[in-house]
């Protein structure tokens, strides 16, 4: 019985992100051949630190997407940039606070507050998520530039170490938080809403509250991703954050999270993000221009979505 359960779960896992996992193995092998020094175990801390903001952005994007009905938060990137600016410019440089016990809660609360605003706009005012979070995207980009017109540094030493030897810590924190959430009744309700919100309503699930909380979770995770970004660049830069939004959505889709909701998980989103990071690494080692990089992202994304759809259709035919 237990082995049966295991095999069906791993089959479901494979169905949802088989392509991304396969790509991960291939890209990892190619990278190991091309860049043995960069991928040496001794360099893993720095390597993970380099990939962390993208992985964090993808993890942050996933919860609202799982909640379905067009749920998406494109303000994840600007939230990261805003947290970056608040932590360095407002708290560290202006107010002189450098303790992790101040900066980490501040980053989490900032993210959660932005998530709550997005949640309010999408679930209570009922603006379409893409429009509502586009609004937050623009406002946050503007506010970030207002408080921080030009890049400024440095970052506290403890924070910089989060992109080096300790780079796994913030990612582990997100995964631990999600591991906890998965064990709550809340998780079942979120997945049910993502699967079919009308059915969830008639089954007595408080649809609005559950979706609202998903936005707060996304915002909080984006706050952590903002810290990872700060750790990596070791300074504050008003222009970097926003670039993470679209590539994070691509990573989530690549990782087998259905943009229609109710299918996939954070592990898939992380694998999708690592795929994109490794692809970046392969192409740059061939000295390919960034324009070609963009073309490669796009092509991979479309291919992944098509493959997922084909797989799903095959699975459906199997059942019928």
């Amino acid at each position: 019985m237990s082995t049966d359960g295991y095999s069906s779960r791993s089959a479901a896992l494979w169905r949802s992100m088989g392509f991304a996992a396969l790509l991960l193995v291939v890209l990892l092998a190619v990278n190991l051949v091309l860049n043995p020094a960069r991928f040496h175990p001794a360099a893993w801390g720095a390597l993970i630190g380099l990939a962390a903001p993208l992985i964090g952005a993808a993890l942050a994007s996933a919860p609202v997407i799982l909640g379905g009905r067009g749920g998406i938060d494109i303000s994840v990137g600007p939230t990261m940039g805003f947290v970056n600016a608040i932590v360095i410019q407002a708290l560290f440089l202006k107010a002189g606070m450098s303790s992790p016990f101040v900066l980490i809660p501040a980053a989490l609360l900032t993210g959660a507050a932005i998530g709550a605003i997005n949640g309010f706009l999408t679930t209570i005012v009922r603006i379409q998520p893409i429009v509502a979070t586009l609004g937050t995207y623009l406002v946050l980009t503007g506010v970030t530039l207002t408080i921080l017109p030009a890049p400024i540094g440095p970052a506290p030493a403890w924070l910089k170490s989060m992109s080096g030897p300790l780079s796994i810590l913030p990612l582990a924190a997100i995964f631990l938080a999600w591991w906890g959430i998965r064990r709550l009744p809340y998780y079942d309700q979120l997945m049910a809403i993502g699967s079919d919100d009308r059915a969830a309503y008639t089954a007595g699930v408080p649809v609005t509250e559950v979706r609202f909380i998903a936005y707060v979770i996304t915002g909080t995770f984006a706050g952590v991703a903002g810290l990872m970004l700060t750790a990596l660049i070791g300074s504050a830069d008003p222009n970097i954050g926003a670039t993470y939004t679209l590539i994070a959505v691509a990573a989530v889709a690549l990782g087998g999270v259905s943009l229609a909701g109710g299918r996939g998980g954070l592990l898939g989103a992380a694998i999708g993000a690592i795929d994109i990071f490794l692809l970046q690494s392969v192409l740059t080692s061939f000295n390919v221009s960034t324009y070609v990089l963009q073309i490669a992202y796009g092509a991979i994304l479309v291919a992944a979505v098509i493959l997922t759809a084909v797989q799903e259709r095959a699975a459906k035919r199997e059942r019928a």
Binding site: Y187, A199, T202
Partner: protein, 248 residues
Amino acid sequence: MPDDALTLDVRNLSLRKGASAFSQAIRPGEIVGLAGLDGHGQERFLEVLSGLKEPVAGDVVLDRAGRRTTVTSFRTAVANGIAYLPRDRRATGIFPTQSVLDNFAISTVERDARFGLINTQSRRQRYDVYRQRLSIVAPRPDAAITTLSGGNQQKVLLARALALEPGVLLLNDPTRGVDVATRHVLYDVFRDLARDGMALVILSSEIEEILLLCGRVLVFRDDEIAAEMTGEAMTTESVIAAMFGRAA
């Protein structure tokens, strides 16, 4: 009959502006059928009972041994012992991406929580009780719900509603698209539930089903109760006559 049995008290209810109001009491242990041509108010009546739709006038009151609660929303209805099984299984019932177990447990997720965390063991045990009682044929609890036959999907949905341990069960065409063998399993379950003191309201598009199951039938026409029949008076002819607005 248990002390906490629920009576559903409908007072001066009007389903449409201009439609005449009616009062009804649905008592513990009773199976009441709702009949009528599609769109003549019987479905709206069931949705009003469940709190999903608001009536134009009048109200629905739950009476539990003298303690009375007015149904103002779907949530108050569910919290006070009403369970509703929706009509369109595919559109508003199952969660196609989720497992059988998750589909079963979604209305009662809190009950498996130990110190706030879900205990899968307890969920499986709860599911097993209903799997046996409703003879659900499913390969594994963690298989996707879409791998089940239509009849078994419907049983899982019924199990979901029963897991709430309701005092009143509202069924919106529960045997639609369900095979004959499964139908008879469901009929037996409904009768058992009524015997244990539950009040059941069944909307059905098949008159034979109502005649077989129900002790009383309300026939709707033009958003009003055109006829109420019990016992011997309930025949296919008399119900059809009332549905079409003719005197039997």
